[in-house]
């Protein structure tokens, strides 16, 4: 079997100590919530628009995480360092959480606003497709036991996604452009400016910190599990030194003779 050449797992892994992210993130979230609830209600949609203060940032993170996964996949293929693979996997896992959340929030916002759960607009459809690309990536990783094979194969899938997703993006937007629904269901065209826009941006900052904090923890977990696996593997391999227990016996025989 292939061995993971990974310096990071040979060191003793201690629990995650206090990191600035662990402090900054909750603060940012509280500030964002403050903005979300104390800004004036939006002109046409009223209170329901407050969902967008988390929906839009979640969507931004979903795409960011996707990009990070793809870049990290390339990073692994080029450098062969497991660190990149851990980043790709962590970003994918956190990304799928945010993507699912984006879709759920989009639906929760759409029902009272448009009367339907799903509007089939380009952005929503693309997010759904991206969700399934994530799921496929994670399912593939789950199916591979060997860490190096897992890293390499999922990196290849990542690369395929890098080249193919722009085409997916472009084709869906084009398709939607041709098939305008009779009633204009354009969730993105709203008058959001001024303080409301600030609320969205604060949300983006807060969620970015949440993303970074979660990815960091997920990567630490991956390192821990990799070092566990390495420890298990070295335990099961018989050590050559075990066979060398003769000196005492020889010493007895020498004494006896």
């Amino acid at each position: 079997m292939t061995t993971a050449t990974d310096a990071a797992t040979t060191e003793a892994v201690s629990p995650a100590g206090k990191h600035w992210l662990d402090i900054a993130t909750p603060i940012a979230v509280v500030i964002a919530l403050g903005f979300a609830f104390f800004t004036p209600p939006e002109a046409t949609q009223g209170e329901v628009a407050r969902i967008l203060y988390i929906h839009a940032p979640a969507a931004w993170i979903a795409y960011l995480a996707f990009g990070v996964t793809l870049v990290a996949s390339g990073g692994y293929l080029v450098t062969k360092q497991m660190r990149w693979d851990r980043l790709a996997a962590a970003s994918a896992e956190v990304g799928v959480v945010f993507t699912g959340l984006t879709i759920a929030l989009g639906m929760i916002w759409a029902k009272p606003t448009w009367g339907v759960w799903w509007t089939w607009d380009a952005r929503l459809t693309l997010t759904a497709i991206m969700f399934f690309v994530y799921l496929g990536y994670l399912s593939l990783r789950r199916a591979i036991a060997d860490p190096v094979a897992r890293a390499r194969r999922s990196a290849v899938l990542g690369m395929l996604a890098v080249v193919q997703v722009p085409l997916v993006h472009f084709s869906v937007i084009w398709w939607r452009g041709l098939h305008q629904p009779p009633t204009v269901l354009r969730p993105d065209e709203m008058q959001i400016d001024g303080i409301l826009l600030t609320a969205v941006w604060v949300g983006v900052v807060a969620f970015s910190l949440v993303y970074a904090a979660l990815v960091r923890r997920r990567m630490l977990l991956a390192r821990l599990e990799a070092s566990i696996e390495q420890a298990l593997r070295s335990e099961s391999v018989p050590v050559a030194g075990d066979a060398v227990a003769l000196p005492e016996v020889l010493a007895d025989r020498v004494e006896a003779s």
């Binding site: 399934f132 390499r152 690369m159 395929l160 080249v163 997703v165 085409l167 398709w175």
Partner: protein, 198 residues
Amino acid sequence: MLWITVPFGAVALLLVPLAIGTDLALLRDIGPGLYWVIVMLFGVLVAVRRTTMDSGGQRDLAARLGIDPAATFVGRVLASGTLLLAFEAVLGVVAVALYDIPLEGWPFLLLILPLAGAGLALLGTLAGTVVATLPSGTALVPLLVAPLAVPLLLGATHALEGLQNDRSILSWMLLMVLVVLVVAIAGVLTARPLQETQ
């Protein structure tokens, strides 16, 4: 493999009207799209089987003989593509029959079907190589391919639609050509890294 997937695809085409109704106008409307969805979802299995059937011994031999993995990839794609074309053709006959799909502009089908088949063969072969030797590999491939096959699906469906409504299909054809080029390049570039894991 064709002996299984072709009847399976045909049964799927048969089942849909049983569930949604046999209104001829509706069927004519959804026929082309449904045909391509079935081709994309089931056809990809045709491409996969070829790669997962290669035994580890065959792969080792190929590696030892110094056969370029990219060449192997291309060879597999051509073989799968041929099978897919046959798959598309037979299912096409079934779809035309069951859904009363008009055959206006049928000569263009000679371009559309091979293009779509090539794109699907490329995606399926690449995905098949990624999951090779994995126990759940074959089951994984449709999941991996389906979201990435969207441009192919949109291109093929709208090309057919364009034929029926006498609209330009050039842009949709170019989209499919782009997919074929992009996935072909990805497949060739990743052939060697993938070989090293097997």
